[in-house]
């Protein structure tokens, strides 16, 4: 019996619910030696800005209990180089291409989104939640008015690509912010981005990151993420993508039961570069074992007491 693994993110149909989380999968090619990119629902590439960015000074990462902090600072090659050098490479594969974008003004988000939409990418993920840069990113994600204006401006200008808004966990109410972006026209909501954190070396009394603070990711944040995905999914009608500490199949299933239509693997890729394909296979095995014919019968099927 062939199990149905495809899911829909608005008009974007994925062959399976496994995506990669932005910033953990490079531009795809870094993983080609480990995984068949054709086996993924979608590749979400490292966040792109209009101009290339050098990012933050080192040290940029440090390990914490069951997780890691990062303050990369959105280092990237810029949209022009991405379109010229990276996109053609990704196009060879039978997978959907989602580009994570960020800017320091609404206009920058708009220009970027238009360029990528014209280039034919399948999805645009608005990064309004990066904790590691002063301008842009999280500044847009924590003010509902600004966020609504950003999402509606981009949505109006984008013709073909699906618009995904990546929410910050650093907001007072996930349901309210989810409804805000839905009303502003976002086709999909993805969450969560990293949680702001900090670690200190007690011998040198220095912060472990040059940026002092960074974003916490990995299994340590999974329970927080599952809760937020559950809150988002029951507050809106648009599909939700679950992100946060997904390392193995069971984690992915948990997010889908909480209401995620698809999931993104982030830090898990660093621990096991084959995590994405193993999870995709694992989900198929789980359906088989539980006699579920269509993965859509799993989404949001949490039994609450």
């Amino acid at each position: 019996m062939v199990r149905e693994l495809s899911v829909a993110l608005g008009k974007l149909k994925l062959k399976n619910p496994v995506m990669t989380a932005s910033g953990t999968f490079g531009y795809g090619e870094e993983y080609a030696q480990f995984v068949d990119l054709n086996a993924l629902g979608a590749v979400v590439v490292k966040g792109i800005s209009l101009k290339p960015m050098e990012g933050n000074p080192s040290p940029r990462i440090c390990e914490t209990s069951c997780g890691m902090l990062n303050a990369i600072g959105l280092q990237n090659i810029g949209v022009k180089k991405f379109l010229k050098e990276k996109l053609p490479y990704l196009r060879q594969f039978d997978t959907k291409i989602v580009v994570n974008v960020f800017g320091s003004t609404v206009q920058e988000y708009l220009r970027l989104s238009k360029m990528l939409d014209d280039a034919g990418v399948d999805g645009i993920e608005l990064n309004v939640s990066c904790p590691n840069v002063k301008k842009g990113g999280i500044a847009f994600g924590t003010d509902r008015k600004v966020l609504a204006r950003l999402v509606s401006t981009v949505k109006k200008a984008v013709k073909n690509a699906v618009v995904i808004t990546k929410l910050s966990p650093n907001v007072p109410s996930i349901p309210e912010f989810s409804r805000t972006v839905e009303e502003a026209g976002s086709d999909v909501i993805s969450l969560i981005n990293t949680l702001p954190g900090m670690a200190i070396d007690i011998e040198t009394r220095k912060p472990k990151l040059a940026n002092v603070t960074g974003g916490l990711s990995g299994p340590a944040i999974k329970p927080v993420a599952v809760r937020m995905v559950w809150e988002a999914a029951r507050s809106v009608a648009v599909p939700v993508i679950g992100i946060g500490g997904i390392v193995k199949t069971e984690d992915a299933i948990e997010f889908m039961l909480a209401g995620a239509s698809a999931i993104q693997v982030g830090t898990g890729n660093f621990i096991n570069p084959r995590a994405t394909v193993e999870i995709a296979q694992g989900i198929a095995t789980y359906l088989e074992k539980n006699g579920i014919n269509d993965i859509k019968d799993l989404i949001g099927k949490l039994h609450v007491f």
Binding site: E30, Y31, Q33, C66, P219, N272
Partner: protein, 259 residues
């Protein structure tokens, strides 16, 4: 050929109070490393520690891949308890490795502490006359001294030193290099430096290289999450912008690094 592979611990032997020799035997087809490359090794199966740890390989023999590691933190403390037969996941070989010296060059290898693993992988493959400067804090920390001394049979001049003078010359490898420069250096045809060791050592070396207009390469160490170019966690400032230690490195032209 798999870059992400399963291996069995063949042996895990203490060489001194803090340093171990680990031999991993891949149980699947793997790619062969070149000197200066490294591997990411899993230290435990739980989520704490979460990330693999990067180690230069020391030697590749038919039986396995050899690594030197010092106990520094949570990950290496777990590695200390690796028993023969244990399965571990590893990724590699990773990074660029040392560029080959020209036929007219005389390689001058400089190893500080456990940086000797990376330097030894290169020394073992040198075809002709070379120098190797090997330093550590004390006698017990010159863990590969015998192996390095054996290279003398192959026309490789070995100069060893310790900070406390308990073995060889008293002083650091930088002192040893300065001494070499003050004495024999003018007779060495086209010296080409290859160095691996603690960051302050490499920084001093780059200063000497700049002053004396010497060419060469340094192998850098940096915290890294993935080891294969995706996380951008291990970047180093260079005169050509940020570069990834794991991908464009770990070996860089010595005068390219902005310290």
């Amino acid at each position: 050929m798999n870059s992400y592979f399963r291996a069995k611990v063949l042996s895990n032997t203490p060489l001194n109070a803090n340093t171990f020799l680990l031999i991993l035997q891949p149980v699947e087809q793997v790619r062969e490393p070149v000197p200066g490359q490294f591997y990411m090794i899993e230290t435990g199966s739980s989520y704490d520690p979460l990330l693999k740890r990067p180690f230069s390989y020391l030697r590749r023999t038919p039986e396995g891949i050899q690594f030197l590691y010092s106990i520094r933190g949570k990950g290496t403390r777990l590695m200390r308890d690796f028993q023969p037969g244990k399965n571990v996941q590893a990724i590699g070989p990773l990074g660029n490795g040392y560029p080959k010296a020209g036929t007219r060059n005389t390689p001058v290898l400089i190893a500080g502490g456990t940086g000797v693993a990376s330097i030894f992988s290169l020394a073992a493959q040198l075809p002709s006359k070379a120098y190797i400067l090997y330093g550590a804090r004390c006698n017990e920390d010159l863990i590969l001294l015998n192996e390095v001394k054996e290279l003398e049979h192959r026309d490789i001049v070995c100069i060893d030193c310790t900070d406390d003078g308990s073995c060889g010359m008293k002083g650091t490898v930088i002192d040893a290099l300065n001494e070499l420069i003050a004495t024999d250096f003018s007779r060495i045809p086209s010296p080409l430096l290859y160095a691996c060791g603690p960051r302050p050592m490499l920084e001093s070396l780059s200063q000497i290289a700049r002053e004396k207009e010497l060419k060469g390469y340094v192998s850098l160490e940096e915290h890294m999450a993935c080891g294969f170019g995706a996380c951008l966690g291990c970047t180093v400032s260079t005169v050509k912008g940020n570069k990834r230690v794991c991908k464009e490195g770990p070996v860089f032209p010595i005068r390219e690094i902005v310290w």
